[in-house]
């Protein structure tokens, strides 16, 4: 297993943790936890591959299916501990977001999409699973209203990947650099509480 593949599985694992934890929060049973874990971890990539018109990677890799189940087991037995280390998980989640965006953009470019569309699909890869998780849990996707910068780092990381690739840099250094940029922006947004604006004249909720 190469370092990129390992990082990919770490991203899958962290996304799956957030899905299974949502299951606990909504008092779902173990089946619901497992479904949310799988959907959160794999949903973005599956949507990307459907749009690219190729068989989804999640249905060709054993690890992609089993890692979310492992996350479900961990959350099932030790969810209070997992919830307690949430701040650390959010950092890993930011890393997963960065990686998924960069890898998703690159795959889209390899299949012939324009840099604009590859960027869009990179963002989809990064945020799609979390949106599916929220919809299935009966909530409006956090991404749409919570004003945290989550999609914006994803967008910048994906756009950087598309730009570097256009300049001839498709290797792992470029992918990692793009992932790190998205990761850094996401962590900075959490730390400094940067917020997306509401439409002009709409008063904030709080």
């Amino acid at each position: 297993m190469t370092v990129p593949e390992l990082l990919d599985l770490v991203g899958i694992f962290v996304f799956a943790l957030s899905g299974a934890l949502m299951g606990v929060r909504k008092r779902l049973d173990v089946v619901g936890m497992a479904v949310l874990a799988e959907m959160t971890a794999l949903g973005g990539g599956v949507v990307r591959d459907l749009i690219l018109n190729v068989r989804p990677a999640a249905f060709q890799s054993v690890g992609y299916v089993l890692v979310p189940l492992a996350a479900t087991v961990i959350v099932f037995f030790w969810h209070p501990h997992v919830a307690r280390v949430m701040p650390a998980i959010l950092v890993f989640d930011a890393a997963g977001l960065g990686l998924f965006c960069a890898v998703g953009t690159l795959k889209a470019l390899e299949y012939g999409l324009s840099p604009l569309h590859a960027t869009l699909l990179g963002v989809t890869t990064g945020v799609g699973g979390g949106m599916l998780r929220d919809v299935l849990a009966g909530e409006i996707p956090t991404l749409l209203y919570d004003r945290q910068l989550y999609a914006v780092p994803a967008l910048l990381g994906s756009a950087m990947m598309a730009e570097l690739s256009t300049l001839g840099l498709h290797g792992w250094p470029a992918t990692l650099a793009s992932a790190v940029v998205a990761f850094g922006l996401r962590v900075a947004a959490m730390r400094f509480k940067l917020r997306a604006p509401l439409a002009r004249g709409v008063p904030p909720s709080e």
Copy 2:
């Protein structure tokens, strides 16, 4: 740019307006507005193309991606004005519905679907984006319960397109005629408050 292409972008624009306005109504941030605008405008066509097993048109056209962003910007700054011209927007929305149904049906026929299935996919093209918008905004799709005739004009316009095409008429006159029929029925339904029935014995809500 041909007239049909221009009409198509107008349809995209109007659908995107309704998505971005839903974002304002639900107090989403600018990211949520843009996501809803893109999903409303492009969702129906993307689902159609996934089912036809071809790469979605939305991921090959620059205009399809940028026009919804333009709609988002307009709604972001001037949403009270946009909401005020809602009656006019609903007329454009009816035009977009008619056009999307006719074009969607035709594309499905070109890819070898039967007239029945092409009609179904034409309707999907017309109403799919709005359904996605409502689900993401945490609401039951309006289409399912509001008793307004929206799906029925879509169905008749799509069926007419399929019928004309079976008779050998696939050109733009036939497409426009089908779109106009769906448009006219939709406008008539709004004007005369035609309503879809509830199941026998179910009392109306109001």
Copy 3:
């Protein structure tokens, strides 16, 4: 029409009944009832075929489209009677679940998926339509929280089909045996009120 094809349409019909009944329960109009009937009956198979990257079977068969409409008409006029025979419908629903899982798994294997992934896709075929129905009706999918064993019989039936096929048994006897196992487990789960566990320490709702 062969016996398997007939059984398939019976499964479609029963799933569609549950969709249309959900429409009545949520006071949707006839359009909403028809959309839910079609989505519940066809959704799982469409998702399976999208992932297999083939044109969905639902868009190639006339019966698959018309049978849910027939179910809608029946529920529209006689929903109190249909609701009264619900226990019988649930038995047919269990049969449909078993059949969809076995057939879905087999199709996935034929398209080259591994037994693990084919099992996952078999479960998706069986439960996907019901999940779509619940999301469109504005509810958290029953499957995720109601602790009834529904996904577990689906999983065992699909896994058995994958195992038998790996052993060289792909014929209809093996498919029916797998379907019967899932059906029997589902009926036993209803009869003996077997329940899926909640995460450790989460108190049950009732």
